[in-house]
Symmetry: D4
Subunit: 209 residues, 8 copies
C-alpha cells in the first residue's frame, strides 16, 4: 500500500457494525482510513469502539491515521466555493485531499455574484496545481475560474438550492456545458470524487520530478 | 396607438399570405410593423408584395416604419452576450428595442470564460437603464453581470450548444437559479420577449419624469 | 448603504448561530435586516438573542428595522395570487417589498378559475407600477393578468399542487411560455426574488423624477 | 354500424396503398370514412384512386360520406382556441365532430392574453353541450373557460410554441393541473381524441331524451 | 345552489381552523359540504367542533349533508380499479360522486393481469353512464376497459408503484397514449376530479330527459 | 461457430463499404450473416457487391445463409403485436429468430383496444416456449398477455405514437411497471434484442432434452 | 396449484391485517406464502398472529412453507451483484428463487471497478442456467457479465447511489442500452421480478427433460 | 503564445467566411489553427481559400501547422473506445491532443461486451499519463478501465445509440455515477474537451520535470 493513500469506506448504506469491522481489518494492516458520508448517530457508535477516529462533522467524515510518516509533495490543491451552503461538500473535498497528504488551500467566499472576492484571490488560486471548484444553484463558478486559470479544474455540482435547481441537476448541466476549456465534472455532491481526481493529477505533477 | 409601439406579428406558423394581409391592415392604420421569426423564403414572398419592409437576416426579422416622428427617451438598454453563436437572439432583442424607439448599446463579446472583456465595458453597461443578457451553453453570464450592476436584468437563455445543453434547458435552469438578485428570465431563444420586458421598464424610468 | 435597502440573509442552510452573528454585525452598522426562509425552531433561538426581530410566520421571514427615516416613493407594487395555498410565497414577496420601503397592495383571491374576482380588482392592479403575480398548480394567472395590464409583470411559480405539477415545474413552464408579452419569471417559490425585481423597477420609475 | 359513426383510419405510419385498401373495404360496407393525419403526398395518391374523398388540408384529414341520411341531434359542441397557430388541431377536432353528424361552433380567436374576445362569446360557448378547448404554449385557456362554463371540457394541449414548451409538455402539464373542475385531458395534438370524447358526451345528452 | 351539489373544500394546505371556518359559513347557508385530502390529525380537530361530519378514512374525506331531499337520477357511474393499492383514490372518486347524489357501482378487483375478473363484470360496467377507471403502476386498465365499453371513460392515474413509475408519471403517460378512443385523463391521484367530470356527464345524460 | 448462429452486424452508423468488408470476411468463414438497421440506399450498394443477401424491407434487415443444414428445435416463439404501425419492429424480431433457425408464429393484430382478437389466438400463444410482445403508444399489451400465459415474455416498447409518447418512453415505462409477473424489457425499438433473448431461452428449453 | 409455486403477496401498501387475512386463506389451502416489501413494524404484527413465518430482514421478506415435498431441479440460478449496498435487492431475488424450490448461488462481491473478483468466479457463473445481475449507481455489471456468459441475463437496476443516479434511472438506462446481447431488464429495485423471470426460464430448461 | 498550443475555433454555428477571416488573422500571427465541428460543405469553401488546412473527415476537423518546431513531451495519452460508432468523437479527441504536440495511442476496439480485447491492451493503457475513454450506448467502459488503471480518466459520453439512450443522456449518467474513482466527465460528444483536459494533465506531468 502506497503511503498517503488511505483506504476509503463509503459510509452511506453501511451499518456502524460493518464500518467498525472493515476499519479493524485495516488497523491491523496499518492503513490510514477515510470514512465518508457517515451521520452523527453512526459516528457515535463507531467512536465508542474506535475512539482514534477524528470526526469532521461539517463534512460527515471520519479519518484515522495509522501510518507514521507523511508524504511531502510540492504545491497545493485549491478548493474553491461560494460560501456557507456548499461548505459540507467543500470540506469533504478538502479533508479528502489532506488525508492523501497533500496541502490544500481553501477559497470559500468567492461566488460569481460577488466576483471581486474571487479576483482578490485569483493569483493564489492560479498557482495551485489543480483546482476543485464547488458550486450549487446556478453552478457558474467553474466557468469563471476556468477562464482565469490555466490548470485543470474538477467541477463539483452540489444539490444546494431549491425549486428549479432540481436537486443539483441545474448546477450539473451548467458545468457540463461550460464554454471554458479545461473543466471536467463529477457527480452531484461528490466532494470526495472531486478531490480524488485532483489528487491523481497533483501526484502526476509531483512524481514526474 | 401609442407612438413607438409597433404592432408585432409572430411570424412562426403563419404563411406569407397571412403576414402580408395582417401587414396591409396595419399600413392602412399607419402603424409601425415588426415581424419576428420569419425565414428567408417567406421574406422573399413578403417583400415582393411589400418592399418597404427592411429585412434583418441574422435576426429573422422584418420591420416597417409607418409613423413619422421618433420617440425620444433618455438612456439606453444594454444588450449583452458572449459571441457569434448567440447573435441571432441578441439581434432579435436589439432590433425589437430599437423598433420601440429606444437607444440600444450592444456588448457582444463579453462571455464568462474571458471575463476581462466584460470588465472593459462594465461601466457603460452599468449606466444602462436595464440590461438584456443573452447566453447559451452554461448560461452563466447573467449571474456575473447581475453581481456587477444594480439595475434589473432580463435573462434570455438560448438553445446554442450541444449534448447536455438539452436545447437550452441548461442555460434556462442556470438563469432561474442565479444567486445574484435582480434577474428574471424569459423563454429559451425569446429575444423579442427579453427586449419587450426591457422596453416596459425603460419607459417606466422615462415616463415618470 | 442606501436607505430602505435591508441587508438580506438567506436563512435556509444556515444555523441560528450563523444568522445571529451576521445580524449582530449588521446591527452595529445600523442596517435594516431581512432574513428569509427561517423555520420556527430557528426563529425561537434567534429571537431569544435578538428579540427586536419581527417574525412573520406565514412567510417564514424575520425583519428588523435599524434605520430611522422611511423612504417615500410614489405608487405601489401589486402582489397578486389565487388564494390560501400560495399565501406563504405571496407574503414573502409582499413583506420583502415593504422591507424596501415601498407600498404594497395585496390581491389574494383572484385565480383564473373565478375570473370575475380578478376583474373586480383589475383597475387597482393596473395602476400599480409593476405586479408580482404568484401561482401554483397550472400557473395561468400571470398570462391572464398580463393580457389586462400594460406594466411589467414578474411571475413567481409555486410548488403548490400535487401529481403532475412536479413540484412547481408545471407552473414554471406555463409562465415561461406565456403568450402575453411583458412577463418574466423567477425560480419556483422565490417570493423574495419576485419582489426584489419589482423593487428595482419601482425605484427606476421613481428615481427618474 | 350506427349511423353517423364513421370508421376512423389513423393515417400516420400507413402507406397510401394500405389506406386505399382499407377504405375500399369500407366503401363496400357503405360506411362513412374518416382518415386522420395524412400528408399532402399521400392524399394525392389516395385521391387518384378514390376521388370521392374530401380533403381538408389544414387538418390533414380525409372524409367520405357513404351513408345517406344525416343524424340529427340537439345542441352543439363548442371548439375553442386562441388563434392561427392552433388551427390544425382545432380543425381536426371540428371536422371529426361534424363527421359524426354533430353541429359544431368554432370560437377561434379567444386566447387568455386577450380575454375580452373570450367574454364576447362566452354565452354562446356556455350553451354548448360540451367544449373542446385547444391551446399550445402555456395552455391556460381551458382553466379560464372551465371557470366560466358548467359543462364538461375536453382539453387538448398542442405542440405549438418553442423553447421551454418542450413540444407540448408545457401545455399538457398546465391542463392536468387546472384548478378549475370539470376538465379532462387528451394527448398532445390529439384533436381527433378531443372531439371523440365530446361526441360520446353529446350523444349521452341526446340519447337520454 | 343546485341540489346535490356540495360545496367542495380542498383540504390540503389548509389548517383545521380554516376548514372549520369555511364549513360553518356553509352550514349557515344549508349547503352540503365535501372536504377532500384531510389527514387524521386534522379530522380529529375538525370533528371536535363539527361532529356532524362523516369521516371516510380510506379516502381522507369528510362529508356533511345539510340539504334535505335527495336528487334522483337514472343510471349509475362505474368506478373501476385493480385492487387494494388504488383504493384510496377509488374511494375518493366513489364518495365524491355519491356526495353529488349519484348512484355508484364499485368494481375493485379487475386489473389487466387477471383479465377474467374484468370480464365477469363487464356487462354491468357497460351499462353505466360513464366509468371512472383508476390505475397505478403501468396504468393499462383504462385502455382495456375502453376497448370493451362505448361510453366515456375518465382515467385517473395513481402514484401507486415504485422505481420507474416515477410517482405516477408512468400511469399518466400510458393513459394519455391510449389507443382506445373515448378516454380522457385527469391529474395523478385526482379521484375527486375524475368523479367530478363523471358527475357532469351523468347529469347531462339525465337532464336531457 | 455453432450452427444456426448467424454473425450479427449492427448496420446503423456503418458505411456500406464497412458492411461489405465485414460480410466478405464472414462468407470466407462460411457463416450465416444478419445485418440489422440498414436503410434502402445502403442495401442497394451492398447488394450490388453481394447479391446473395436477401433483403427484408419492412424490417430494414439483410440475411445471407452460408451454412448448409438447418437446426431443428421443438416448439416455437410467438411474436405478438397490435398492428401495422409496430410491424417494422415485429418483423425485425421475427426474422432474427428465424435467422437463428427457430420456428416463429406471428400474431400481428391483437392490441388491447380490441381484446377479443387476442383471445381468439391465446391458446396458440400459450403453447409457445416464450413470447416477444411488441407495443408502442401506451404499451399495455405485454401486461395483458403476461396475465394470460405462464411462459416468459420479452417486452419490446416501440417509438410509435406521438405527443406524450415521448419517442417510446411511455411504452417503456408501462412495460417496466407491469403488474403481471414474468415480463422483462429491452430497449425501445429493439426487435433484434427482444428476439435474441427469446432465442437463448428457447434453446435452453430444447438443449436440456 | 403447482408445487414449489408460492402464492406471492406484495406487502407495500397493504396493512398487517390485510396480509394476515390473505395469508390465513392460503394456509387453509396449504400453499407456500411469500410476502415481499414488508417493513419491521408490519412483520412484528404479522408474526404475533402467524409465528410460522420466517423473516428475512435484509430483504424485507416473509416466507412460510406449507407444502411438504420439495421440488428438485437440475442446475442453479446465479445471483450476481457488486456489494453491500445492493444486498437488499439481491437477497429479495435470491430468497424468491429459493422459495420456488430452485438452487441459488450468490456472487456478491463482483463489481466492475474490481473486475478480477468477477473473473475469479466467472466459470461458476457461466454454468448457471440463467443469471440475475443486480447493480446500482452506473449499473454496468450486466453488460460485463453479458459479454462473458452465453445464457440469458435478467438485469435489475437499483436505486442505490446519489445525485445524478436519479433514484435508479441511471442504472436503468445503462442496462436498457447494453451493447451486450442477451440482457433484459425489470423495474428499479425489483429483485422479486428479476428472480421470477429467472425461475420461469430455469423451469423451461428443466421441464423439457 | 506557447508552442504546441493551437488557437481553437469552434466551427459549429460559424459561417465559412467567419472561419476564414479568423484563420487569416492567426496565420499572420504564425499560430497553429485547429477548427472543430466543421462539416464537408464548409470545409470545401474554406480550403478553396486556405488549402494549407489538413482535413480529417471522420472527426470533422481542420488543422494547420504554422509554427516550426515540435514540442517534445515524455509519455503518451491513451484514447480508448469500443468501436466504429464512437470513432468520430474518438478521432476528435486524438487529433486534438496531437495538435497540441502530444503523442497519442489509440485503443479502438475494447468495449465492455468483449472485455478480453481490453485486457489484451491494458498494460499499454496503464502506462499512459492519462486516458480519454469514450463510450456511447450504456457508457460502461470508463468504469471498467478506471478499475484497472491508476491514472486519471477523462470520460466522454457519446450520443451513439437509440431509444432509451436519449441522445447520450444514458452514457452521461453512467459515467457520472461510476463506482470507480479517478473518473471525471465532459459534455456528450465533446471529444475536444476530453482531449483538452488530458493535455493539461499531461503537461503537468511533464512540466514538473
Ligand atoms: N419572437 C417572439 N417570441 C415570442 N413571442 C413573440 C415573438 N414575436 C412576437 N411575439 C408575441 O406574439 C404576439 C403576436 O402574435 P400573433 O397575433 O400570433 O402574431 C405579439 O404581440 C408578441 O406578444
Ligand atoms: N382532491 C382534489 N384534487 C383536486 N382538486 C380538488 C380536490 N378536491 C377539491 N378540489 C378542487 O378544489 C376546489 C376547492 O378549492 P379551495 O377553494 O381551495 O378549497 C373545488 O371546487 C375543486 O375544484
Ligand atoms: N437492431 C439492433 N439493436 C440493438 N443491437 C443490435 C441490433 N442489431 C445488432 N445488435 C447488436 O450489435 C452487435 C454487433 O455490433 P457491431 O459489431 O457494431 O456490428 C450484435 O452482436 C448485437 O449484439
Ligand atoms: N468540439 C468542441 N466542443 C466544445 N468546445 C469546443 C469544441 N471545439 C472548440 N471548443 C471551445 O471553443 C473555443 C473557441 O470558441 P470560439 O471562440 O467560439 O471559436 C475553444 O477555445 C474551445 O474552448
Ligand atoms: Mg482555464
Ligand atoms: Mg445586480
Ligand atoms: Mg401586458
Ligand atoms: Mg366549469
Ligand atoms: Mg370505448
Ligand atoms: Mg404470465
Ligand atoms: Mg452474453
Ligand atoms: Mg482507477
Amino acid at each position: 500500500k502506497r503511503q498517503g493513500s488511505p483506504e476509503v469506506i463509503f459510509g452511506e448504506g453501511k451499518t456502524s457494525t460493518q464500518i467498525i469491522d472493515i476499519s479493524r481489518a485495516m488497523i491491523t494492516k496499518k492503513e490510514d482510513i477515510l470514512v465518508t458520508r457517515v451521520n452523527k448517530e453512526k459516528v457515535e457508535e463507531i467512536r465508542r469502539e474506535l475512539p482514534e477516529f477524528q470526526y469532521h462533522e461539517i463534512a460527515n467524515l471520519l479519518f484515522m491515521k495509522n501510518t507514521k510518516d507523511t508524504v511531502s509533495s510540492k504545491g497545493y490543491i485549491a478548493i474553491v466555493c461560494a460560501g456557507t451552503s456548499d461548505l459540507a461538500v467543500a470540506e469533504e473535498a478538502a479533508l479528502t485531499a489532506e488525508a492523501y497528504g497533500i496541502e490544500v488551500r481553501r477559497f470559500y467566499d468567492v461566488g460569481v455574484a460577488g466576483i471581486h472576492r474571487l479576483f482578490a484571490h485569483i493569483d493564489e488560486i492560479r498557482q495551485a496545481t489543480v483546482s476543485v471548484v464547488i458550486a450549487g444553484m446556478e453552478g457558474a463558478l467553474p466557468s469563471v475560474v476556468g477562464g482565469l486559470v490555466s490548470h485543470p479544474i474538477i467541477a463539483v455540482p452540489t444539490s444546494v438550492g431549491y425549486g428549479a435547481n432540481f436537486q443539483g441537476l441545474s448546477a450539473l448541466l451548467t458545468m457540463l456545458n461550460s464554454c471554458a476549456s479545461g473543466i471536467s465534472v463529477v457527480n452531484i455532491d461528490n466532494g470526495f470524487g472531486g478531490a480524488y481526481n485532483a489528487v491523481l493529477i497533483h501526484r502526476l505533477a509531483n512524481n514526474s520530478k
